[in-house]
């Protein structure tokens, strides 16, 4: 299996093919996770090629959490041999493997976890590889780097940044966990936002909604139909009345909305004695006034994407995402009349199923019309940049083109599109471009509030100091037990220099310096296990293109069980 150079892709494909057909039913095996990211998320996961640098405990824990849910393949790059101290903390290195290639042993044991994942390794020094064959990394979907010294990390960061390959840096140092996402540009269609408004368009009703609602006459309905008319229809009708009474305006203030609610309340049927009936749909309509009458508009975040140079200057190499954003912009400016394509779903509500389904169809049909219009723009744009014939008769997907289902998914999520652009490692590590304002502020807070549970940024600064120590002495502070006392002042000096370079006047408490010295750069399994979960989750977000990854640094304080994220 040992390779130093060569056509990586071919090896993977063979391995993947060999594994086909021997597996268990994937739907059963992956059932519990398909419910989180769906079949298409799983397909993206299964086509990913992940590279891990260093089969450290942190590294194998991350990879374990990626092999289990079924990434396509992984390659471990590591030149070390298994040592006794590795075995004690790394579940994927065994005692009898001491002296063997760490990359090889970990690859073999990790491969056992899932026969549908192809595992591969390269026993080579990362510095050499970066020097001699940097294009080696070009074939990967994502690269994970663990326990790397600063110099190597920066070199790797530069190589991957140039090639637009996402890098996830993870490190465990005593009771500290550190994660850094280095992604030039990551575009997310399915961001799975937590809180969303329904897209109902009551303020801007479309033709189908007009027609459907106008075809229903509340007054002539029998009792059962009246009390089973969907609230969406009720709200439409009473809003219409309200608008007629108020010069076409829709209610926006609290007072106006209350007036509308009163109006709806009056519509509830009464029995012979004049007592209002129990009509749940009317109650739902009243409850929905506040949440459903917000003005439909293109969100500011999406407006910003429309003005992004990537959207405005399409070319042959443009990402599909940007082609679709541009199509969306054109739709909004034309057919959409200032609005995004309709999402096409409605919430559950009291209704007879017949009219509920009709209403569902009304929304779905309009969403379909909108999506078709967007698709038209997409195809025209692809044609303009020389990527597709305008009328591709079979509509089959070719490289660089887009399928109808992709365009539909995009339209459904049009209001939630997200673009993540991380800062590069170079920016972070260059004093002129470092985010010193943020660092300074956190140090200050830390100094002011000694009991602060809330700020772990100081741990980052200490890790940087330890790195500087490494640069100077070619070992981490107190890496050997007997140097603890001697290393504390040396580390303090490194820290002072670092803060001085940054122009920060605030100090870091001695306790912290002692603590980090005591860690001796050791990796604790339980911290590695925790970070393995966190980092793998971020990798899954990146390769599935779903959910928004952390931007850009995550720090875990295992002693306090606290964590923070910060942009550095």
């Amino acid at each position: 299996m040992r390779r130093t150079k060569g056509p990586v892709l071919i090896v993977y494909k063979m391995a993947a093919t060999l594994n086909k057909g021997t597996g268990l039913d994937k739907n059963n095996k992956y059932d519990r996770q398909l419910r989180l990211w769906g079949d298409h998320g799983q397909a993206a996961l299964e086509s990913s090629r992940v590279c891990l640098i260093n089969a450290s405990a942190t590294g194998t824990e991350i990879l374990k959490n990626l092999v289990l849910p079924g990434i396509g393949s992984f390659t471990i790059v590591d030149s070390c041999k298994v040592k006794g101290e590795d075995v004690g903390i790394n579940f994927f290195l065994t005692v009898d493997s001491i002296g063997k290639s760490r990359a090889q042993v970990a690859t073999e044991l990790l491969s056992e976890l899932n026969e549908d994942v192809a595992g591969d390794f390269l026993e080579e020094d990362v510095d050499d590889l970066l020097e001699k064959n940097p294009s080696f990394f070009s074939t990967f979907t994502t690269v994970i780097a663990t326990q790397l010294p600063e110099k190597t990390l920066l070199h790797l960061g530069k190589v991957l940044w140039e090639r637009n390959i996402p890098l996830i840096v993870c490190r465990c140092y005593g009771f500290i966990g550190y994660l850094r996402m280095v992604i030039k540009e990551h575009t997310i269609v399915e961001s799975h936002p937590d809180n969303t408004h329904e897209d109902l368009r009551l303020d801007r009703p479309f033709k189908g909604l007009h027609e459907f609602c106008d075809s229903l006459d509340l007054n002539s309905m029998n009792k059962k139909d009246h009390s089973h008319t969907p609230w969406l229809v009720l709200l439409y009708k009473y809003l219409d009345i309200w608008k007629n009474m108020n010069g076409g305006k829709i209610p926006s203030t609290y007072k106006e909305k209350t007036a509308l609610k009163e109006l709806i309340k009056e519509g509830v049927r009464r029995n012979a004695e004049g007592v209002p009936d129990d009509e749940e749909n009317f109650e739902e309509a009243i409850r929905s006034v506040n949440s459903s009458l917000h003005a439909t508009a293109v969100p500011a975040e999406i407006q910003a994407l429309f003005e992004d140079p990537c959207c405005l200057n399409l070319n042959t190499d443009s990402k599909n995402f940007w082609v679709m954003v541009r199509a969306l912009k054109e739709f909004t400016e034309n057919e959409g009349q200032g609005l995004l394509p309709l999402r096409g779903s409605i919430p559950d509500m009291t209704s007879d199923s017949e009219r509920y389904i009709q209403l569902q169809t009304v929304y779905r049909d309009q969403a379909e019309i909108d999506a078709t219009a967007v698709a038209g723009h997409v195809h025209a744009l692809l044609h303009n940049i020389g990527r597709e014939e305008p009328l591709n008769p079979d509509r089959t997907k070719k490289p660089g083109t887009l399928s109808d289902s992709e365009i539909r998914t995009f339209c459904r999520n049009a209001a939630f599109l997200t673009v993540l652009r991380c800062r590069s490692l170079e920016e972070e590590y260059t004093t002129e471009t470092a985010n010193l304002e943020e660092l300074g502020q956190h140090i200050l807070e830390e100094e002011e509030d000694a009991n602060s549970d809330s700020d772990d940024t100081v741990l980052y600064i200490l890790l940087r100091a330890a790195d500087r120590f490494f640069t100077e002495y070619n070992r981490y502070p107190s890496y050997f037990d007997d140097t603890l006392d001697a290393d504390i002042p040396k580390l303090k000096a490194c820290l002072s220099k670092l803060l001085h370079d940054w122009g920060l006047t605030a100090g870091v408490k001695d306790d912290y310096v002692h603590e980090i010295c005591r860690y001796g750069a050791s990796e604790l399994h339980t911290v590695a296990a925790f970070m393995g979960g966190v980092a793998a989750q971020e990798v899954i977000k990146v390769v599935t293109g779903q959910f928004v990854p952390i931007n850009n640094t995550f720090i875990y304080n295992a002693q306090k069980q606290t964590s923070t994220t910060i942009i550095l």
Binding site: L24, N90, D194, D348, S353, R518, G520, S522, H525, Y556
Partner: protein, 626 residues
């Protein structure tokens, strides 16, 4: 091992780790991660209890298990896998139920602390009581999708698992299930009941025939009710026989069963006119004339993802019925089948039946994938969350061992960093609830019931076991004579089971002394006699704890409580009882709303959930213990 600690841990802690004896309850998703973390952190005396065997759907995260282990004991295989990597660890595996009498007080007392890695509330309640009785610390945990939490329980120092009542498990009135379903879940419950009626153990609470005692009908009174009774006899006299024996007689004939269940019974329901005055009336179906007739059956990969036509449902109903019949016959006389969400035929049966019934009642049909979620109470589960939570558990364990239990935290894992950029939310542990009927000095509660209707059996099964979480209760009346009405010894009080409480002179203000020897737990119940409780409830536990009683959550209620995801939700992946389907969206360990530290109040925005669809589309926001 020394290399790993390398002076990072204080010396006395390193020593405590080596000396300590741990009990890990559960070897599933969290359990696998935890066992690995423990052995690689230097723990060497660990006992593992798990009753479960390995299923294919475990393999995406329970990494100590492989394909070849499917069907084997989780505890045993977990032990063997861990020993491969750490041969000198002393791991004892018990393929046993935690409720087994062999795990009594003496068993618990030998451990330094107990780590729960469980997936159901009953077992959590039990371990909680055992740890309180043995006075040893318990680390409790759970995950669901991207969310998770860890907490520490110690007698007299922290809240116990039962200090805050959990939202009651959602149940549906029998008449909704049998007569007037209005949501897909009602049809799924009915379909599971039908499965048990046809193949499983008999349970009188799971009748699937039309319910003539529907309170809505009672309101009808007089003439109409009489005529309903009269009609009953005209429908082939089927009702008088059990569904099972009738089905057996027909040889599980698909057409006959179909036409009885979906045509004749529905026609009978239609005769209860009062039910349909304000509702859409159901439409009976005939096996030979179904919508979608003549269309090809759906096969291939998308079979489980798309919604089947009614004709397809009927075909799949017939297919699965025949297969299940074979399974049943192969069990011999008196054999029964147990429904399992991961069994192909059982799932096909429930899915097709639920959809046919949904069609009849004009309810939205669902795909098998979605119905599996509802019926199996499936909570999404992934390796990453379990890894994170297991890491946190060990950190809390280390604090306990170093004598810093007061520094322990209750830690919540958010789906994404919250507005304050925190992925983790540590909260201080709350002190015990002085009125908790489990961990306070005085164990007392009040139960409202009708003493002339509630039997000793109901007292035992539904109140003491079902609600108050006892395992093997004994009950004596505090009447000065010590009359024993219920004994956990077999054969001692069985003749009492079907007698109502008033037979034993239990009435207003009676006090019942209930005792569970296994849990070393006793509780005094004050009886309040009431004629009738709302919503057809048989009893209601009130009194001291009631002031904390949360309102029952429903599917459309805020599921998650908070955007910070410190969610509350109960994890019952393996509990197949559909009546607790609500557990997916209700608090697991403790309700967390009040646990927010002040600084995090701003995060406490309620999330509005979509109904139903959200359960399957993005129901990652719930807590499981896997």
């Amino acid at each position: 091992m020394a290399a790993t600690l390398n002076g990072v841990l204080e010396n006395n802690l390193a020593e405590s780790i080596i000396k300590s004896r741990l009990l890990m309850v559960g070897a599933g998703g969290i359990g696998c991660e935890l066992l690995k973390n423990l052995v690689l952190s230097g723990f060497s005396n660990i006992e593992v209890i798990d009753l479960d065997t390995i299923d294919v759907s475990n393999l995406n995260r329970q990494f100590l298990f492989r394909k070849e282990h499917v069907g084997k004991s989780k505890a045993q295989v977990a032990k063997e896998s861990a020993l491969k990597f750490k041969a000198d660890a002393n791991i004892v595996a018990h393929h046993e139920s935690i409720f087994s009498p062999e795990f009594g007080l003496d068993f618990f007392k030998q451990f330094t602390l107990v780590l729960n890695a469980l997936d159901n509330r009953a077992a959590r309640n039990h371990v909680n009581r055992m740890c309180l009785a043995a006075d040893i610390p318990l680390v409790e945990s759970g995950t669901a999708g991207y969310l998770g939490q860890v907490t520490v329980i110690k007698k007299k120092l922290t809240e116990c698992y039962e200090c805050q009542p959990k939202p009651t498990q959602k149940t549906f009135p029998g008449c909704t299930i049998r007569n007037t379903p209005s949501e897909p879940v009602h049809c799924v419950v009915w379909a599971k009941h039908l499965f048990n009626q046809l193949f499983g153990e008999d349970d009188p609470d799971q009748d699937v025939s039309p319910d003539t005692e529907d309170p809505e009908l009672a309101a009808e009174a007089g003439q109409a009710a009489l005529s309903t009774e009269a009609k009953k006899d005209t429908i082939g006299g089927i009702e008088r026989k059990s569904t099972r024996s009738w089905a057996m007689e027909t040889g599980y004939d698909a057409e006959k069963l179909f036409n009885k269940l979906f045509r004749d019974d529905i026609k009978y329901l239609l005769s209860m006119e009062n039910l349909w005055k304000k509702r859409r009336a159901p439409q009976p179906l005939d096996f030979q004339e179904l919508p979608g007739k003549g269309e090809a059956m759906c096969t291939g990969v998308m079979r489980d993802q798309r919604v089947w036509s009614v004709q397809e449902c009927a075909d799949i109903f017939a297919q699965s019925l025949a297969a299940l019949k074979q399974d049943l016959y192969s069990k011999g006389d008196g054999g029964t089948l147990v429904w399992d969400k991961d069994d192909h035929n059982g799932m096909d049966f429930v899915c097709s039946v639920a959809n046919i019934r949904a069609h009849i009642f004009g309810i939205t049909l669902k795909s098998k994938f979605d119905i599996k979620s509802i019926a199996g109470n499936i909570i999404p589960a992934i390796a990453t969350t379990n890894a994170i939570i297991a890491g946190l558990i060990v950190m809390e364990t280390l604090k306990i061992l170093s004598g810093n239990i007061s520094k322990c935290k209750q830690v919540y894992l958010n789906r994404i960093p919250n507005d304050r950029k925190r992925l983790l939310l540590p909260c201080a542990l709350d002190p015990p609830n002085p009125k908790c009927y489990v961990c306070s000095e005085k164990h007392e509660c009040t139960v409202m019931l009708n003493t002339q209707k509630v039997t000793v059996r109901v007292l035992q099964d539904k109140i003491l076991k079902g609600h108050l979480n006892m395992i093997a209760p004994d009950v004596e009346i505090d009447d000065g004579k010590g009359t024993i009405i219920l004994s956990s010894e077999e054969g001692e009080t069985e003749e009492n089971y079907d007698k109502v409480l008033s037979v034993f002179a239990v009435g207003q203000s009676s006090r019942l002394k209930c005792d569970d020897f296994l849990q070393n737990y006793s509780l005094t119940i004050n009886i309040v006699h009431v004629e009738k409780l709302e919503e057809e409830k048989e009893f209601e536990v009130v009194g001291d704890i009631s002031q904390f009683h949360p309102t029952e959550t429903t599917t459309e209620s805020p599921v998650e409580g908070h955007t910070n995801g410190a969610s509350k939700s109960k994890a019952t992946e393996e509990e197949d009882d559909l009546l607790i389907v609500e557990d997916q969206v209700t608090p697991d360990l403790v309700s967390t709303g009040r646990k927010r530290p002040a600084e995090d109040q701003q995060d406490a925005l309620l999330i509005k959930r979509k109904k139903q669809e959200s359960n399957t589309e993005d129901n990652e926001d719930v807590i499981e213990i896997s």
